[in-house]
Amino acid sequence: MNTDHDVIARSLKEPAAFADLFDRHAATVYRYAASRSTRQVADDLLSETFLVAFEQRAKFNPERGEVKPWLLGIATTLLRKHRRVEARSYLALAAEHTRKVLSSDAFEDTDERLDAAAALRDVTTRLAKLPRGDRDVVILFAWEDLSYEQIAQALGIPVGTVRSRLNRARTKLGAALPNHTTNRKEAGHGFAGSAA
């Protein structure tokens, strides 16, 4: 089977070969875009990402990494124009989790579940407030399972910067957690008071 690198190389002479990359990675790119925006925006971003990638394929350097991070890097840059939508999507994500918790029929561990929902709401709220560069790193790491090196490739930054951004983000995102994890049993339904 041809590797992604082979496909890009072949597409320089046979442009139609590039469609193979779409078939391999479109679902990933779409999921990533949708996780950070709305489905409508993701529709556009999916198309735009591959158009830009096709246009830029001659510049792709296989020695610098793989195709998936490259595509996600393009999508990340395109996402910058949808900041407001992105912020709302995180709030919607938290709301959706809360709704699921509250709609559950199970009474067991209700406190824990409610606390987890509140913690998630805190984290997603803080995620939306992170500097854009930090947020890009966090999401590529946590949701796309990219390695530090792949994130560096996707965002065009040094690996050391990835580490420092991730550490900084971890600190900022985690600031709210102890309220929920340590006070859970004592607080009971106290999540309401600690909710963001």
Partner: protein, 427 residues
């Protein structure tokens, strides 16, 4: 629990694209691929021209193509025999092209200051994919575009466009093309999600992709003046420069055996094999693209018809017909018996404007039946008393983001790429 673990657990799960989204995105990509394949550029070797490819893609998307389902009542079918010896102009066709040119010039003069000429272009384009020894698949998609040209081309232009809104996809099963119902989408299910843009003299920056500018003016339009011979000379110069640039790369010019073995589903360039020289075939391609773009004014169409009349070929025939009450003259450029496709330009006899462009397979190619329309565009014109309303002004340059990083009022994009950021912003 680590905050990143918590975030990982909260990963949105409902992220699958709909078949419509996937189809639309793939179709857009295939359009860009087809555009590049129609051209002569290879981005690996021609970086500067490579950057223009997507803009050209838009033009081809605008132009694209058509299998428009308009009932054509053929009342007269008078094929004009190829005239003269090979290399001589087909005089009958040339005379009709010149006559159409005169009518187009008169149509151009009829537009008054303040008025806009609306051109609605409905295109169909079919693209085949074939990977190694695997199965082929075909996708036909419809694109609709509207371009509004003012009396003075230096004034603001308007452009309404959106994604493809109707698709027909085929799977290859054995040697038969089988329509895939999953991708049979009706126009009623997919409303045209077009947006109206306004930009100076046809140059837009796509608000959603600021890195890519949309220049409705095909670069060659600047070469189209009043003098057809001078225009032809200019176009030939451009073509020669392109040929000179690409000729050292022998692998881009397969030999005869390689040509015979190429993917038979590849569409053929419109002018290939139809003219006495490769150079004129490429000139024809450029004229085809200009006409297909919908951005050539009637005066420019007039000049281009005269240029076509000057191109030496004995492989053009004309047919008169009636379509929706309009008299249409159709010019078919057909190569020799080995040529893959027939290229057609239809001109409204009353207005002298292009009414339809088409490329149709002459011979069956593996699973693709003969007669299949590979690409076609249908044109409809209307004069508006004023500019269309409700346009988004597209900027030539991105406006600066505000202190919070948001676009200023009236824009939906902003900013300049960060140095050292994502690399696709380029050079």
């Amino acid at each position: 629990m680590d905050s990143l673990d918590l975030l990982r657990d909260a990963r949105p799960g409902d992220g699958a694209a709909s078949p419509e989204s996937m189809t639309a995105a793939r179709a857009a990509l295939m359009n860009a691929i087809e555009t590049e394949r129609q051209g002569t550029t290879a981005p690996a070797r021609h970086g500067a021209r490579g950057r223009r490819t997507l803009a050209t893609g838009w033009r081809w998307a605008i132009a694209g193509a058509t299998a428009a389902a308009v009932a054509t009542a053929l009342v007269v079918s008078q094929a004009v025999a190829p005239a003269g010896t090979p290399g001589a102009p087909a005089t009958a066709a040339a005379a009709q092209l010149n006559a159409a040119a005169d009518r187009a010039a008169a149509t151009d003069a009829s537009l008054l200051p303040g008025q806009y000429r609306e051109t609605t272009i409905t295109s169909w384009q079919t693209a085949w994919s074939s990977y190694g020894d695997g199965p082929s698949a075909a996708l036909s998609n419809r694109l609709r575009r509207q371009i509004y040209l003012p009396k003075d081309p230096a004034d603001d232009w308007y452009f309404r466009g959106g994604p493809s809104d109707l698709y027909t996809a085929y799977n290859a099963v054995g040697r038969a093309m089988i329509a895939n119902p999953e991708y049979e989408l009706s126009a009623a299910e997919l409303p045209w999600k077009a947006r109206l843009f306004q930009g100076p003299a046809g140059v837009f920056t796509r608000p959603t992709i600021p890195v890519i500018s949309l220049d409705l003016r095909a670069p060659d339009l600047a070469l189209v003046g009043d003098d057809p011979q001078a225009t032809l000379n200019s176009l030939r110069e451009v073509v020669r420069a392109d040929l000179a640039q690409s000729s050292p790369d022998s692998d881009e010019h397969p030999d005869a055996s390689g040509e015979a073995q190429r993917d038979p589903t590849e569409s053929q360039a419109p002018g290939e094999g139809r003219f006495s020289s490769d150079e004129d075939g490429l000139v024809f391609n450029r004229i085809w693209v200009l006409l297909a773009s919908g951005t050539a004014t009637p005066a420019q169409q007039s000049t281009l018809f005269k240029v076509l009349a000057l191109l030496p070929t004995d492989r053009v025939s004309t047919t008169a017909s009636e379509q929706d009450g309009r008299q249409i003259t159709t010019f078919d450029w057909t190569g020799d018996s080995d040529e893959l496709s027939t290229t057609t330009i239809s001109i409204d006899s009353e207005t002298g404007l292009v009414s339809r462009l088409e490329q149709r397979l002459r011979r069956a190619q593996e699973e693709v039946p003969a007669g299949t329309v590979m690409a076609s565009s249908e044109f409809a014109y209307r004069v508006l008393e004023h500019a269309p309303q409700g346009a988004t002004r597209a900027a030539l340059k991105m406006p600066a983001c505000d202190a919070k990083g948001y676009p200023p009022t009236g824009y939906d994009a902003c900013g300049v790429p960060e140095p050292g950021g994502s690399s696709f912003y380029g050079e």
